[in-house]
């Protein structure tokens, strides 16, 4: 056993496909993006918070929500990170192109964070608190998924 060469095996690049439901609230959100190029949030009558994307429940209040709130296409950067380390993108099985900027954006009129990418990878040109606007796909090219929002751009 002493001089045994230690082997490993590779799984291969077999994908594991899924088809996830988006649900009523998320589907409505993507429709709003397609038809009006703006964000949609939902208000909890219990705590008054507006969250985006809209969802069925307020977790802390445990109550069902139905008060959709039309928001604009702008927000502010609450945090960002220029990601520069390599990793496998589970969506593609390939390395995700880097650098790219991961951003936490508070959509104007909402109380939580919307995560997306910001089209600025020069750290010196980006700051917390900057105003950003969503850049969308052309309505005819929209597919009803998160990539319908191409990225957020800084309003300078």
């Amino acid at each position: 056993m002493k001089n045994t060469e230690l082997l490993t095996i590779r799984s291969g690049d077999t994908g594991m496909p899924y088809e996830w439901s988006i649900g009523k609230y998320g589907s409505r959100f993507f429709r709003e993006i397609r038809e009006h190029q703006r964000f949609l949030g939902i208000r909890c009558p219990g705590c008054g918070k507006v969250r985006v994307p809209p969802r069925r429940l307020c977790g802390p209040c445990f109550r069902e929500l139905d008060e959709l709130v039309e928001l604009s296409d702008t927000g502010i950067i609450t945090a960002f990170s220029v990601v520069n380390y390599p990793f496998i993108d589970p969506d593609t099985g390939l390395q995700r192109p880097i650098p790219y900027t991961y951003g936490y954006i508070r959509i104007d009129g909402s109380d939580n964070i919307f995560s997306h990418i910001i089209n600025e990878t020069d750290e010196s040109r980006i700051k917390v608190g900057m105003k950003v606007r969503a850049v969308f796909r052309k309505p005819e090219e929209m597919e009803g998924n998160i990539r319908d929002i191409r990225y957020f751009e800084i309003i300078r």
Partner: protein, 387 residues
Amino acid sequence: MARRVAIVGTGQTHHKSHRLDVNGREMIHEAVTRALEDCELTINDVDAIVIGNMDHFESINCVDTWSVEGSGGVMKPILKVSTGGTTGTSVAIAAYYHVASGLFDRVLAIGWEKNSESDTTGAIITCSDPIWDRFSYSGAIPSLATEASAYMKQYGATQKDAARVAVRDRTHALNNPYAQMYNRPISIEDVMESAMLAYPIKLLDVCPRSDGACAVVFAAEEIAGKISPRPAWFKSCAARHTTTWFGDVDYDTGLLSLQRAAREAFDKAGIRSPADDLDVAELYLPYSYAGLKWIEALGFCGPGEGPRFIWDGNTDMGGKIPMNPSGGVISTNCIGATALLRVAEAALQVMGKGGKRQVPDVKNALATGFGGCWWSDVVVLSKDRPS
């Protein structure tokens, strides 16, 4: 009424970045064997097993049934508990309830991970919501960076303060031959000069990825004393998996889940002043900044006082409340085992089996778990049998 429960034995592997010499089952078996040897039991004495890890790190579905030849679960009751980073504490808490319920007398808790078998970040990304977050998410580091920046802005904490935490844990790892970073001390300068991953987090501020396993034996009150002359009594536990959506986390406040879990667990255990009433803490701190901010959530010091508390040496060996005598998560992170290692190390301290990393006269010890969507678990162990 719940039965009282104690930890009577622990075992862990010598953690490494790559364990090519064993497969997962064999690695689990190492930890199980060591835990059983520690309390001089055989697998025949074990009534039930709880096991946990995170599925996509090794891509094994139904780890409970896959593992039985390594865990000792052939023709035994076994179930799997898995909650992300908190898996290890979730497994410990489940083992506690196996015994407390009166259904089982001796229960084996196992946490393990072979992080070398996949792209850790790629696997972690799949924890994000596939509809909303996955396309932009880049793993744990940027969200931790967000928390760190907010904390620094709020209280004026510095990168050096965080580096002090990393240095503490890596220094403590000098005493722990099981740690992946055993005998690899670092200085504050080393941390400051290490590569920036996502501002303000640098390479030496974060945990490594490890291959390793941990096993802990729980026993009922009637037999715990017979198995071990000085068992570690399971005094209390609490879990808060507060948020479902990454976007709902409020980075400007303390770690809400840890505040709430700690409050409940401390209340149940009669811990009024954590810094005075606890003698040692094994905390799931996946990055250095957590060692500043999260100790505030636990009530060791007030908001914003973390850096001062650390620099004053309170958390070093010999300090008021030594933290992570094992070297902590910054020295070893086999994710599904990590939080169970905190419980095992806290138990070692109570049982007086800490060897070179023993804190003298430990009566009460704290272990925590962290993971998921900013979730926390808290476990309090004690030398004294709960009343």
